[in-house]
Symmetry: C2
């Protein structure tokens, strides 16, 4: 039986305190110096000032193609009194870079010379001494400082060093970083194709290796080990005895592991910080053992990244004598209220887009285990520990994960989830790799509200009017008073019930949901699918209280599908494409209209133009049709135009 | 005898035209796709959309340490009615990440459980279904899009892919770039330790290789070849037949070479652009041969960099399906008037520093051959072809070569040149690697003017008052009316005449300068050394017209020294340290005071504090003393305080 302990943080610190304590102890450390050939020193940092071994140029040379002359000999030449020079006698042909022959001290450009005979030229202006001559030391003088110490070497720096005869440079050794994945439950990615429940694919090691490389370090990624004390202890000893400059233990996802690592660090060295009031990233461990910085990196991927960036990144740069470059930041306004716990520095992943001139930040999922909250994010917003959260439209600083130009090319789509959005995102990338579709799935109603607040370029919506049977029109009338929009058909799609393959519970329709042996999985309130379900229940006069799992909500069609597949529920309502993607059975219920709601103010945006162009294109329609359950016959049609008070155009179904 | 031809540009284009022509023809090209293991795909670009092979998590797992239970079985538990659960029967200990055992569907956190007996626990609140459970597909659902195509892979992306079971990724092959140095005059850096006049060290190849790497490409650096037609033609054929995706011919510094390359390109393919109205960078050649982009890169190092950045950099990114990241830019004001030729897009290297809140750009040397104008530069300013130059204090955009934070930590020093400034720069780096001393040597008087205009943090000055024999005081009174400054002694230093070793011309002092057999090398007007010389001539009643080379000016002590060494002049006036650095003989003339002039407004700047702290420190004094010819006894002393109208403090000598 497992031993259970409370996860006790002995030296819990605020983020600021932890950074100060860590900096005080490790920022003075440097890696040893090593000499590398200059041609291979790109992006290394100089460990000594570098002075020129030779002058550049090291001789007086022609700076132009032409004739080298002695300037004094040309005095008196002019337009009225041209002068003839004898080639090989008092005028010598030179190309750029050639040394000046004999006692010549000037070059006359070829353009200013008239050939007279085979060996005679005519000039019509005197040369002044040293004209068009690259003089010795014009660029670099021997003994001069070329680069100071602690300088990150760029391509041009290597050129200057080679020119100055510096063929080898003393640079800080790349910090070697021991990366130790720990966790009995971990399996290597290559072995995990069919991994069993309880097995977690180890991927933090690769992420940390990449981050180490980006800081100029060299990762020493170790094989996975069990998180048992003797094993951990032995590997810690091995790490400290190794050539590694920094030791990272990645705790797996078990709190037990972290406890061991902290205990072992206490035995072999000194624990400086155990636990930081940041989220994600709380279980961070910082210490020193035998002169080496040791960091316990939390197991959840978002926590791991944040712990690395706060504590390991600055260390890897300072080990090389430079400071870590600041992360690019931008000002944005918050697109949704964000609660947060007082006393906790929270890092929230957001998508960012410029809507009507304002940069809007929409929070993504906050779970520390959700790695896609990082891959999908455009930025990271920090809620200081003094705040209990932030209000909607609050101005805030956001650290950028994409470039500023990319943000200006990001289309923010908020609203209902649909599998065709992936197709749209890809087709946009194909047309213009710089255009990026960031979508936040908050349900159809959430999309309309985001349009009203001016927080998105477009919304996806399939809101059924239970009276008219029409989609979206009446909801726009109700929620978008004063906000002109256009409504474009994306696709018609089939909604129905997802079922385990073979339909073991024999579910045929909505009436089966109230059977006590049937577990249901719902979509969140405000989603079009939820509205559809409630309408169906009402039509059949069924009470939602009678449905097991009615209060269990998921946010996307695919989440419903995967949970039906996994057995969490017997059925749930979703689009056919979701059933097909996971080979589930499907009972169709209705065909519904999924529309794009585009604010009038964004209608002429070139990104919207491109998107609408894609929606009517062959490749988009074919790909979507192949997903199953979609009708794209009317994709791209303008079905409504709302001026904020009335419909200027409105299709009648 | 050399054949001389005019360098004719057949297809000369403006920069904009050239970029458009080039983009139209090459931006559609892509490298082939290759599959690489995900763990090795850092910074590569996806060539296809990547979808998840598996869900993450792929099982329902505990999100907390605690006990897995069936939620329904806990209903009714509360503070007044605690419930006992049997461990192993209806409560199962789980660590974070463990799969939920049996038909459990919730986890109760270990903190909310009271152990009762060995196998019994007490709870005081009911669990709700799926609390503290990481549900199947919560992060990623099988079939879902993980990353679109044309996406640059970051460390977290690799993690998400591995988690989703994507072990290999199709990415664009790294563009291979053939780099061909050409030029009969070129020698490899390793062989150039004692190279003869006329030999130029080849270093562009290493610079271009580094630039290619920074664009995600793979350089194929070739050995140097002669710039004779048959050799060039043969290597062009070899390059086109090779695996290279892009061919760069680096023209050496001879215009003849470029002509051959253009001619050969016309024979084997198509010349699109030959000559661009940019400076530096005019002799750029753009073309296509057998489907491969071919670029003739000019020979001068600054030209080579600019041609690469304008034409090769965007190509290397687009070959990989992404756009080149924009260069960081900033607004600055120009610290000096900049003339420029109409019709020529000019790129000027500048140093940048924040002085009194304004970011000031001071132009550096403009020669295309001066590689240190790049290594020393903080930014590059572009003068559009429509302008005939820019006025002092004109606002301008500057492309940054250092980060914004670095600029805020740059000390701008303008004025007289002294060898101790290198020592200062290094000592600053040692104290704080982020602090950077950028100096522009324009002479003592230029320094005072920069102080008056608020364009520097400090100036270096050694201006002799020929009446009083004092340094700097009277010039400050004259030029800094209304500008309060403090005057701090940097060092006293010995000025004198530099002589070739052994003093072959027997020069003993200033009277020898008027000898017809003696060639002199002067410093520029406005420099302290020039003022000193003119004072000495006047005292001895000697006419400057009688001095051969009086009109030949250099800008630094070291430039004078190296030109005396090279034989360009028999003597020149400079400080002893310059003579010592190059083993020249020296006739001392006088000891002078070199002072730092620090505007009152900058006096409390922490960088100035640090600099003054260094000036009084042992290491600085010792290093400077070891250079010879310096007296550092009073280094760091405040010798004057000027309030803009009168001296509040003034040493009397």
């Amino acid at each position: 039986m497992k031993e259970l302990k409370r996860n006790i943080y002995l030296c819990m610190k605020t983020l600021d305190e932890a950074e100060r304590i860590w900096g005080d102890r490790v920022s003075c450390l440097r890696t040893r110096l090593e000499r590398v050939p200059t041609a291979q020193a790109l992006h290394r940092v100089t460990g000594e000032p570098l002075t020129a071994r030779r002058s550049v140029p090291h001789y007086h040379g022609a700076a132009m193609d032409g004739y080298a002359v002695k300037a004094r000999a040309t005095y008196g030449a002019g337009d009225v009194r041209p002068m003839i020079l004898k080639v090989g006698e008092n005028a010598f042909p030179v190309d750029t870079g050639d040394p000046l022959p004999g006692d010549t001290d000037a070059v006359i450009m070829i353009e200013h010379v008239q050939p007279v005979k085979q060996d005679e030229i005519e000039i019509r202006a005197a040369a002044f001494p040293w004209q068009h001559v690259r003089k010795v030391g014009e660029d670099i003088v021997a003994g001069e400082l070329i680069l100071p110490l602690n300088h990150l070497l760029r391509p041009v720096d290597l050129g200057a060093l080679l020119a100055a005869g510096v063929l080898e440079v003393p640079v800080y050794a790349k910090p070697k970083v021991w990366i130790q994945p720990t966790g009995t439950e971990l399996v290597a990615a290559e072995e995990a194709a069919e991994s069993a429940p309880g097995q977690i694919v180890e991927f933090n090691g690769v992420v940390l290796s990449g981050l180490v490389r980006e800081c100029g370090g060299e990762p020493l990624l170790q094989p996975i080990i069990d998180d048992r004390y003797p094993v951990l202890r032995e590997r810690m000893e091995a790490a400290l005895a190794s050539e590694a400059d920094v030791v990272l233990f990645n705790a797996g996802s078990s709190a037990g592991t972290e406890d061991y690592t902290a205990a072992i660090l206490g035995e072999v060295g000194e624990v400086l910080v155990h636990g930081v009031t940041m989220m994600p990233g709380k279980p961070t461990l910082l210490g020193l053992a035998r002169g080496k910085p040791v960091v316990g990196i939390p197991g959840y991927p978002v926590s791991a990244l944040l712990a690395f960036e706060q504590f390991v990144r600055p260390l890897l740069f300072s080990l090389q004598g430079v400071s870590a470059p600041a992360f690019p930041e931008t000002e944005a306004i918050l697109g949704r209220k964000l609660p947060s716990r007082l006393g906790l520095e929270e890092f929230v992943r957001v998508i960012l887009g410029r809507v009507a001139g304002k940069l809007v930040a929409m929070p993504l999922q906050r779970g520390a285990g959700v790695i896609t909250s990082l891959t999908r994010a455009d930025g990271i917003l920090r809620i200081p520990q003094e705040l209990e959260g932030m209000e909607v439209a609050a101005p805030t600083k956001v650290r950028l994960l994409r470039s500023r130009e990319q943000l200006d090319r990001t289309l923010i789509m908020i609203g209902s989830h649909d599998n065709t959005l992936d197709v749209l995102a890809n087709e946009l990338k194909k047309r213009d790799s710089r255009v990026h579709l960031s979508s936040s799935t908050v349900g159809s109603l959430g999309g309309l509200l985001a349009v009203r607040q001016g927080h998105c370029h477009l919304a996806g919506s399939h809101l059924l009017d239970t009276v008219t049977g029409e989609y979206n029109f009446s909801h726009i009338e109700r929620y978008l008073k004063g906000t002109p929009v256009r409504l474009v058909r994306l696709a018609a799609r089939t909604q129905g019930f997802l079922l385990k393959p073979g339909n073991p519970k024999g579910i045929r329709g909505v009436r089966d949901l109230v059977r006590p042996d049937v577990t249901f999985l719902n979509r969140q309130a405000g989603s079009g699918t939820r509205i559809l379900l409630d309408y169906l229940l009402q039509k059949e006069d069924l009470a939602s209280q009678g449905i097991v799992g009615y209060d269990q909500e998921e946010f996307t069609h695919m989440a419903v599908a995967v949970n039906v597949l996994s057995g969490r529920a017997d059925t749930g309502m979703a689009i056919f494409a979701a059933a097909r993607a996971l080979d589930l059975d499907f009972v169709p219920v209705t065909e519904e209209q999924y529309d794009l709601v585009i604010p009038e103010s964004e209608w002429e945006d070139p990104k919207i133009r491109m998107l609408l162009d894609i929606v009517v294109s062959g490749p988009f329609r074919r790909t979507v049709a192949a997903m199953g359950g979609y009708d794209t016959a009317r994709s791209g049609e303008l079905v409504g135009r709302w001026d904020g008070r009335e419909w200027l155009l409105r299709e009648r179904t």
